[in-house]
């Protein structure tokens, strides 16, 4: 790659790093995970990021789209992102093969305040592909298990085949130090666990707010009801953390799509506490 | 003019409608701006004069309530075209028509006064008297009227529920409507090409022409912006600008009601309506069709004749 930028100390925030897709995992019928490695071994070795940060993936000729890095910074053999087929870029990503080259601009944005969460109970609430940003933090915490107290994960999807990260789920289920609660929206042959929407299950499980941080991500409608549910359970606003998504182009807080008031989801976010969100106008 | 009569009519249509779309004075004396009033006591702001240039019927397809709209003759054709294409529910629209002997082109007035800010505007005796910091200027209305008024065939709205004033007849010869098209066609191919390259070269792709066009109803799905299908890139090349204007014109074939909004709103002063007028003249010649006149007509591109009398096979 050549960058003839004479200015800005040679740093060009729009210029992606070329990476190779080393493995593609079919998570659900419309979600695939991509493990990527920078072509420049030196850059891969020196690359650092924090759990919750996002990156822009390029399929050159089609465009860029934003995804959270869902592998944890404690496991750096590759970076993993998960992509749900929805628009032009995601469809193009679903058409690539292992060994193909893509562009990556990362890390962008802020991250989960995992240091402030030390010594606390952690409650993860995820829906569908919304487990992706939580996964990076879950794996990070499991890799530093002693720093955190009880870890509860409430995760739901439409049907059992729509649950992402089935291998991780199997592992979490087998661990005694993780309380995993799975649910699907509707009855499904062979499914013997809970049935019901995530916010409903949250009410049934009724976790205690004491010394607990709740972290949620999922479709907008789920987030809305989960936030209401957490308020009902008396979780203080500053202990509710969510990670947002919007249409993004530049990823560096300029292009004007993802701002909520003066805060840009791509640069000042994507991680916000409910207390912070309540201070901001809607997007 | 009949502002008072218009106000009376507007008061009459309440409470049958939720809203009346009319005009009020804009940010200066030369500009009017659309006004949406929702109760009969809000009519004091309403104005009707020859500065009421916007085609208010353009708002109808996006409003799903019972609406009254004030239209000039030319604007009324929009409503008829909407009916032909099933874009509005006629029973949801109350049409307040105003016979009109022509409006003025704000752009032409501003050009005549060197783009100076306007302090006052008066109308008398076929003249418009414009006051700017550089002094007063008297302009003959005929000299600053938009192209569409010069050949207006429908000074009285073609459709209305209320008519403010008495119907009037056109005083312009019907045969001369497309004179400007024929005049332009006297230029050589190369001259025409150069003309449009220069004019479309000014385009900044703000899509004001498209968004102000009453017949551009695709909105979210306009192929000038979609990536799938990927008709056109976002590049600012002369080819892409030309392509956009061809898209706009071809999609209006047999549908353009010649309200002139596209041209009026262009911030770069591009004669956007020219292509549409050419297509309309072809529609008239080929299919004897005039858009927006008879609600029972079918737009020519929506139908066909097995034997097309006017289309001759082209020989090589």
């Amino acid at each position: 790659m050549t960058d003839n930028c004479t200015c800005n100390n040679g740093k060009n925030p729009y210029l992606p790093e070329i990476a190779t897709v080393t493995r593609i995992i079919e998570e659900t019928p419309n979600i695939r995970s991509f493990q990527v490695v920078f072509n420049d071994a030196e850059k891969m070795k020196n690359f650092t990021f924090e759990p919750g940060q996002v990156g822009q993936l390029s399929v050159f000729g089609v465009g860029e789209s934003t995804f959270v890095i869902n592998s944890p910074p404690t496991r750096m053999e590759y970076l993993q992102v998960s992509v749900m087929k929805a628009g032009e870029v995601t469809a193009a990503l679903h058409n690539i093969y292992e060994g193909d080259q893509i562009g990556v601009r990362a890390p962008l944005g802020n991250w989960f305040p995992y240091n402030d969460m030390k010594g606390k109970n952690i409650l993860f609430i995820g829906g569908g592909i919304g487990l992706a940003p939580l996964r990076t933090l879950i794996l990070y915490m499991l890799d530093n298990r002693a720093d955190y107290k009880d870890i509860t994960i409430i995760y739901g999807a439409r049907t059992p085949p729509d649950l992402c990260y089935k291998d991780d789920i199997k592992e979490w289920e087998s661990r005694s130090d993780v309380n995993l609660i799975l649910t699907v929206d509707v009855e499904f042959p062979g499914w013997e666990k809970r049935i019901g929407f995530v916010p409903t299950v949250l009410k049934e499980v009724a976790p205690k707010p004491d010394n607990t941080i709740a972290i949620t991500c999922g479709p907008p409608i789920m987030i809305k009801f989960v936030l209401e549910g957490l308020a009902g359970l008396k979780f203080p606003e500053e202990n509710i953390v969510t990670t947002l998504e919007a249409r993004m182009k530049c990823g560096i807080g300029i292009c004007g799509r993802c701002n909520m008031g003066h805060k840009y989801i791509c640069k000042d976010g994507p991680v916000f506490t409910l207390a912070q969100l309540n201070e901001l106008p809607e997007i | 003019m009949s502002t008072e009569k218009l106000k009376e009519t507007i008061q009459k249509v309440f409470p049958d409608v939720e809203c009346v779309i009319c005009w009020q004075e804009g940010f200066d004396k030369l500009h009017t701006t659309p006004l949406f009033i929702t109760t009969p006591d809000q009519t004091e702001k309403v104005v009707w004069n020859l500065l009421c240039v916007q085609n208010l019927a353009a708002y109808l397809p996006s409003l799903k309530k019972k609406i009254a709209v004030v239209v000039k003759g030319c604007d009324s054709r929009t409503i008829v075209q909407f009916m032909q294409e099933g874009l509005i529910d006629r029973s949801n629209v109350v049409v307040i028509g105003i016979p009109c002997r022509g409006v003025v082109s704000v752009k032409k007035v501003l050009a005549a006064v060197g783009q100076q800010p306007i302090e006052d505007v008066k109308v008398s005796d076929g003249n418009i008297i414009v006051k700017t910091p550089k002094g007063e200027k008297t302009l003959a209305i005929a000299d600053v009227s938009p192209g569409k008024c010069k050949t207006c065939q429908y000074p009285t709205p073609v459709i209305y529920d209320f008519l403010v004033g008495e119907p009037i007849e056109s005083d312009k010869p019907a045969a001369s409507v497309y004179d400007d098209v024929r005049e332009f066609e006297k230029l050589s191919l190369a001259e025409r090409k150069a003309y449009f390259e220069k004019e479309f070269g000014k385009c900044i792709r703000c899509y004001a022409c498209r968004n102000a066009c009453p017949m551009c109803v695709c909105q979210d799905s306009c192929i000038a912006e979609t990536r799938d299908p990927h008709w056109i890139t976002q590049k600012m090349t002369p080819e892409e600008k030309m392509m956009f204007h061809m898209i706009h014109s071809v999609h209006l074939a047999g549908r353009c009601v010649e309200c002139g909004e596209c041209e009026r709103v262009c911030p770069m002063d591009i004669p956007v309506a020219k292509l549409k007028k050419k297509i309309n003249s072809a529609m008239k010649e080929l299919f004897d069709y005039v858009p927006g006149v008879n609600p029972d007509d079918k737009p020519p591109m929506y139908t066909f004749n097995v034997d097309e009398v006017k289309i001759k096979e082209h020989k090589l």
Binding site: N4, R247 | S62, I204, Y207, K235, P267
Partner: protein
Amino acid sequence: MADTGFLPKEKIKEFLEALSKDTVVYVPTKEGETAAFKVYSPDAEICLDRPANIPPKSVIYPQCETLLSFEYKKTDPDDPKKMAVEVRAETNYPKAVIFGCRPCDAKGFAIYDRVFLDTDTADPYYREHREKTTIISLACEAPFAGCFCVAVGGGPADTAGSDVLMTEVDKGYYLEALTEKGRAALSVPVIEDGASYKAAAEKIKTEARAKVKNPFPADATEKVSPKLFDTDEFWQQVTNKCVSCGACTYLCPTCYCFNITDEQALSKGERIRTWDACMFRHFTLEASGHNPRPTKSRRFRNRVGHKFSYYPEKYNGAIACCGCGRCIRYCPVSVDISEVVGYLKDPKQDPATWVATNTKAVKDGSL
């Protein structure tokens, strides 16, 4: 290098010719009734008697800019599917001069600077253009339709963003260099000594300022009223007539939202950045079909909010509007942003009375 100078009217072309030797000079050029910034040529009709229809922002922030070019190359002759992609970015632009823009146009660049440069992810394309461009603005003698620069912290002779400020005095222009780049421009031999014109220029500038009206109420608050700002009815009412086009944003010297798209032909292509407009329905539309700003009232709220609330909050009270009035002058339906902001800055205004005393909003059905 001189700090001031004088350019006689008859020597404008000579001056521009001299500058053109090693720079690309953009001048407001008349084409019919439209004035836009074009590369200077001796037969150009230079328009200095009014602001151009479109500000010179595209000189420094082009409407379409190549961010990078890419090329797919086969890496394995036996396996045509194996491809490597090569990416290149170049920012080697020629030096440029913007001549004859207005102080509001130049102030636009000062507003951009904070966004593009005053950040840890500074924009190299913008920087390169900005550093290589000298801006010679012309002070306004009188306001034009819709002008309200004095209400947003500017003025007809504001110096923000300019390298040279010209003031029209009898038979020519008094020039003041404001930066090193400006002083360099004044070192062209055509420029005469300007000292004797200083007093006349100052007088014209003071008089011009008094002529610009402030459309906001006399007791306008510094910030916009959050209560009215959060009233949906208010925004719906003021945007009833908006047609959702991009004229206001594309003509705005301070609007900078953009789109990035890839355009490919066969194995090669470019990633381009083009102006975009927050007033377009497409702007925030997500692939899922969800649109967080679904109505024109919400989009307009963002536009006004960005300029008069969000940007000031981020940058120490600076307003992201230069009051050039173009969005008012060229709006197809005469939406008047100064009127809207006037309501928002009126301390007497409260949402309940506003909603009660104004015509009701007709909610747009075009979600």
